[in-house]
Symmetry: none
């Protein structure tokens, strides 16, 4: 009936992102995803072990891509710590600008995933955060960043802030541009709220 050969796996994950974004993970039914993907229910289980597995793979794909980018940043010795963090933030925003539905799923369901994350063999999310923390430590060592900052707290602080802004952006019909948000985030992280 349907033979876009070799695309089913991708079709399914894209359908799932759409569906999770629209209804949330818990309210998305396998049959909904199957319909959006134009695929039979059974076919989903050919490519994915179960519903949760789809969500895991959505996030793994995302963090894998971001991890690839952050390692490139890390390797680039010409960048200052400030530039590294700026670029890192830019990459995160770019990933979601490209796929706003993914942003919605990210902000809503990432939490649910973290409880399972320890079971992931390739935990790109963890690796990603570790590299991010390195940037901060570098900045502190080079006396650019304040030594009063705990790098661990900082990375959690910043990702939470970004996540909440993405959620807000994704949920708001009349959008503030992501560019504007990115600009504000960059400013706040660098300077905080006080005038210099």
């Amino acid at each position: 009936m349907r033979h876009k050969e070799g695309n089913k796996e991708k079709d399914i994950i894209e359908a799932a992102i759409k569906c999770f974004a629209k209804k949330g993970y818990h309210h998305s039914k396998i049959i909904d995803i199957a319909k959006i993907a134009n695929v039979a229910v059974g076919s989903i289980y050919v490519y994915y072990n179960n519903k949760e597995d789809i969500l895991i793979k959505i996030f793994n794909n995302l963090w894998e891509r971001l991890y690839f980018k952050i390692t490139n940043i890390e390797k680039n010795s010409r960048l200052t710590p400030v530039e590294k963090i700026d670029t890192m933030i830019e990459d995160i925003f770019d990933a979601f600008i490209e796929n706003p539905n993914l942003a919605i799923v990210f902000v809503n369901e990432q939490q649910y995933l973290l409880k399972l994350s320890s079971t992931l063999s390739n935990n790109f999310h963890k690796k990603y955060l570790d590299v991010g923390e390195i940037f901060i430590k570098e900045g502190i060592q080079q006396n650019i960043f304040s030594s009063e900052i705990n790098s661990n707290i900082f990375r959690i602080f910043i990702l939470g802030a970004i996540r909440n802004l993405l959620r807000y952006w994704a949920d708001t019909p009349v959008k503030i541009s992501l560019a504007k948000i990115k600009e504000n985030v960059t400013y706040l992280i660098r300077n905080g709220i006080l005038k210099k």
Copy 2:
């Protein structure tokens, strides 16, 4: 024991917070809550319309308390905008230090609630955010806060950051102290990451 003793309603909501914190809202069964509250299943429906209603009331209670506190901050004309924001952050942390399970529920389920929040008659969360935004605008007017900051983005930024830190704190067995986290948050919000 057939007559109102005046604490079942409270017992249930406290049991629900425990249960939601431990298993998450979607995986908490009514019978679980009933057992923890040492109450019959039917009794839950004497005090709450349904499962969702319990969650709604948990958050409404929380935001009502915080709203009460923030209005006191607002009325206090001796505080500078910086102090107002510091105190506001302190109040949020205090609320969760008092009840760490509430913090877990907050970070995990608030998202789910926001979709229903428009239906709440007394939306203390909304009111709370509005007062917070006023503080920022005051600071900008008084030329203490940078005018490059969008107050709306800032309040979303800051609450997302705090939420993520609370989640981290609540999930981590060996705790960084909330005091330490609060200190870092205050610093980051004031000064950002760069050295002054």
Copy 3:
């Protein structure tokens, strides 16, 4: 709070008739009846054993009254069999004209009751039917009614017909008058559909 002394039992049964008529027995809740009767839930169980008991007593009251009337008809030796049946039908209609809600409960729930009727100690319904059958047998003996008629079948035939007409009447917003219906019933029972 409420002290119309000595009326509670009656209040409850009247409330139940209203409620059963409006929502049906199965969809009427004890608390609904309590509210209509302006009585506490527990009070209902002071006067009635359970929900079913209320329905049983509603019907028992009805058939007791009709049985009282039919025995008077039976005793009246001046009436011909035709007149006896006419009067019997008239009495049935009168009972329901007086209380249309009772008609609705009768047509909808009598069926449910019949399954329990064998358990009734004073089964006035059964006794009523037996007297009705006597009238028919008298008519046949006196060569007024056709001997082709089985008296048992006839009484079931006639009560079914009347019940269905009452149901129709009770359900129909723009009413055919019960008088008109009664007239037609009397005619049909006497003469059938064929012209004489």
Copy 4:
């Protein structure tokens, strides 16, 4: 056995008729029907929307069949109005002789259904009654039936009578034959109780 065998839908409806006949609609549990049909609970919901839907379809099937028969009677121009009504009654009795359980469900639950009947798209019951009324009007026009009879009242009268007799027949362990009942009904409708 994972693929449609084409009889589950029928198995379920037949099981439901048996179950409703034995216990009544309200006391029949979905799991009871599933067991009788030798089918999983979930399978019932593959073919029917809900419990009520099963009942609706039982009646719709019945009235569709009867409607098919009555339209054939209507088309047959050789039949007199009396013969038409006779045949109509015969068809009703035949439908229930074929399936006595259906008769029990009919007499007990049709009432419940009438409240929903307006929502049915194909309301064969309504159409059936309309054709029946035409027969009566024809008979009155042709001066065969008494003009004192209201055709609307008559059709309600007759169906109520038949329903009650069927119920009696279905409930009575030692049966009067349906043939005997049919004979009496035909006589009563034609001639009433009085001797000619």
